[in-house]
Amino acid sequence: MPRMTGPQVLLIEDDGKLALDVAEDLGVRDFVVTVVGTGPEGLERATSGNFDVLVVDRMLPGLDGLALIEQLRRQGSRTPVLVLSALSAVDDRISGLKAGGDDYLTKPFALAELAARLEALLRRPIEARESVLHVGPIVMDLIDGTVLRGNRLIELLPREFRLLEYLLRRPDCILTRDMLLEDVWHYRFIPQTNLVDVHIGKLRRKVDAPGEAPLIHSIRGAGFMLRISN
């Protein structure tokens, strides 16, 4: 039984079975999901209801997913939208984002990936006011490039610094490998090797010294998380 306090998701998807699975999985993850099967109905619910995030399939009966998003944006809605598509074409992804989508996910996708991306859309990354990120025991100076954990200075390569900065801005948030590749390295292909794991592994050895409470966690079947809450 999902708590009524969870984020409200409107899922506009015509594949009924997939929609049901997605809704159940998101329900377990504390999302409150409303499912509609057609474009016009989706547009109507999106306009009238008060949703925190929309998941829109690209190909919908009645009204195409991209047209729906464009119409929604014209009406001034700023609700974040994640586009789902069976098409893998990269150009397609670009057109999805151009139409006003905030993220794009290709079918088949892992349910954990969808949940992580929705979470990321719901939470704005932390803005550094004084060019210093202060997250948990870590203090990152964005100007002179130094990182302290407590009193311990952490020496980082530029790429490790970028990766840690990304993690620090999204604490307690599951970050998938694809998200990291896309956002930290700006790569849109899926490498055949576990690149991200190796990068995270190296960073973790520097951030979590022996004896310190681990900050960077691997989330089984999903990705990674910088955990500062208990």
């Binding site: 150009d91 088949p108 790569y187 292909f189 055949q192 190796v198 592994g201 190296k202 079947g221």
Partner: protein
């Protein structure tokens, strides 16, 4: 089933029809020339004789002249000289068989072609001349063109006699040739029908390629050879892909089945499901890679082309792969890297380079070395990746870049095995040339892959 059609609609028959037409025209032209030549000669002769006759007659005294004119009107000569008449200076008839002055005739003028109407003979086409006598009277002599008419009818008869059989022979020949061509086309049609119904081994009868139809059939056969090769290749690839998908799927199935019947629940179940998902992801990776290759090969991606600095690409990819190489105790180094720009799709070129490095690291044993760089060669930019792995056998070097190629060697290595196929597709989209060679002399073998493409600018902008 396509129908061969009638012989009248064949190209050969139309060609013969055209030839027959040209033949008829040539014969007509020839006859016209003969007729024209003969006519000129005849007229010249007639005029000459007319002048002599006139000179002879005008030399006579007046009574003899009258006498001769009367005789001329009645004797056999009137066949040759049908008209003769004496007129006074005002063109009034004095004697002879011409009832009126021939209109348009000039006394002492040139010989003229005209129609006269001698008494008792009806209108006739003649050559006529008028001569002024010493007393002012005018003598008119008209000579018929009887010979000319004969020549004309002879020529016409000859023309008909020649032309009709020639044209008939030409048409019959054309029909025969067309029939033969139709037979050959019919054989080809049947062969094509068999090919279309699925028998790709069938070929058209091409003979020794002596004529155009044979040469065309030869070309079609070569096309069929290539098509058959490609179809076989795709079939082989299809089998390979089916195999690559079936193996992990079979594992998934077995694992799930065991999990279902297992008395230990909980942890074992979770483990089984976890591994099933990993195997399914591998299936998806193969499918995604195939779709991606197809997408790139369709060449619709040039829209994203822009100027790309290859040296920056190399630096980025080094950054991404260096930890991996380090983890495997392989030295990844950037060598021979100079600033060079190309026109291309940055994301795809990154993917190309990533696949090359990925492969190099995968196949290089521990303690080995992978070198990457971008340099200029003339007006070209060259991306190069060298490793100290086992290398690629010369026989396989072309095949590995082809669409959907999987080396047997790569089957036990993680990944979808389609990396180099993807590299090949991206290179083709960029009109880039890929060469594969040994990275160095023995015993330090290994693989050197170079991607050569046109540079837009060399050095820093």
């Amino acid at each position: 089933m396509s129908t061969p059609g009638s012989i009248f609609s064949t190209g050969t028959f139309r060609l013969s029809l055209g030839s027959a037409g040209f033949l008829a025209a040539a014969l007509l032209l020839q006859s016209a020339l003969i007729f024209w030549q003969t006519t000129s000669y005849q007229i010249m002769r007639t005029d000459l004789m007319l002048s002599r006759e006139a000179a002879l007659i005008t030399a006579q005294s007046r009574p003899v002249l009258d006498q001769q004119l009367r005789m001329r009107a009645s004797d056999d000569l009137h066949l040759l000289i049908p008209g003769a008449g004496l007129f006074d200076a005002q063109h009034r008839v004095l004697n002879g068989n011409l009832p009126v002055w021939p209109e348009g005739l000039q006394p002492d003028g040139p010989v003229r072609q005209m129609v006269v109407n001698p008494i008792g003979q009806g209108p006739r086409s003649v050559r006529a001349q008028a001569l002024r006598l010493r007393n002012g009277d005018i003598l008119v002599l008209a000579r018929g063109l009887r010979d000319l008419e004969e020549v004309r009818s002879v020529v016409l008869r000859a023309l008909l006699l020649c032309a009709v059989p020639s044209i008939l022979v030409a048409l019959a020949g054309g029909a025969w040739l067309s029939h033969r061509a139709l037979l050959r086309v019919g054989i080809m049609h049947r062969a094509i029908d068999r090919i279309m119904s699925g028998d790709l081994h069938e070929r058209l009868p091409a003979g020794r390629e002596r004529d155009d139809l044979d040469r065309l059939a030869g070309s079609v056969n070569r096309m069929l050879d290539r098509l058959e090769y490609l179809v076989d290749e795709i079939k082989g690839v299809g089998d390979d892909i089916a195999h690559d998908l079936r193996t992990p799927l079979a594992r998934v199935r077995t694992r799930l089945e065991r999990a279902r019947s297992s008395p230990e629940g909980g942890e074992f179940m979770g483990e089984a499901i976890e591994r099933a998902i990993i195997d399914l992801d591998q299936c998806f990776a193969v499918i995604t890679a195939l779709l991606r290759i197809g997408e790139i090969e369709n060449g619709r991606r040039r829209a994203a082309f822009a100027t790309v600095a290859l040296d920056e690409l190399v630096a980025d990819i080094f950054d991404l792969y260096e930890p991996i190489a380090e983890a495997r105790q392989i030295a990844l180094v950037v060598v021979d890297c100079e600033p060079v720009r190309v026109h291309g799709d940055r994301d795809l070129l990154i993917e190309l380079l990533a696949n090359l490095i990925d492969n190099a690291i995968k196949f290089t044993p521990e303690g080995g070395r992978v070198e990457v760089g971008a340099e200029t060669s003339g007006t070209n930019a060259v991306l190069h990746v060298a490793d100290t792995g086992p290398g690629i056998a010369p026989a396989e070097r072309v095949a590995v870049l082809a669409r959907f190629y999987r080396s047997d060697k790569s089957r036990h290595i993680a990944g979808n095995g389609l990396g180099l196929s993807l590299v090949g597709a991206i290179a083709r989209l960029h009109d880039a040339r890929i060469s594969i060679s040994e990275a160095g002399p023995l015993p330090r073998l290994g693989c050197l892959i170079e991607v050569t493409m046109a540079a837009t600018s060399i050095g820093r902008p």
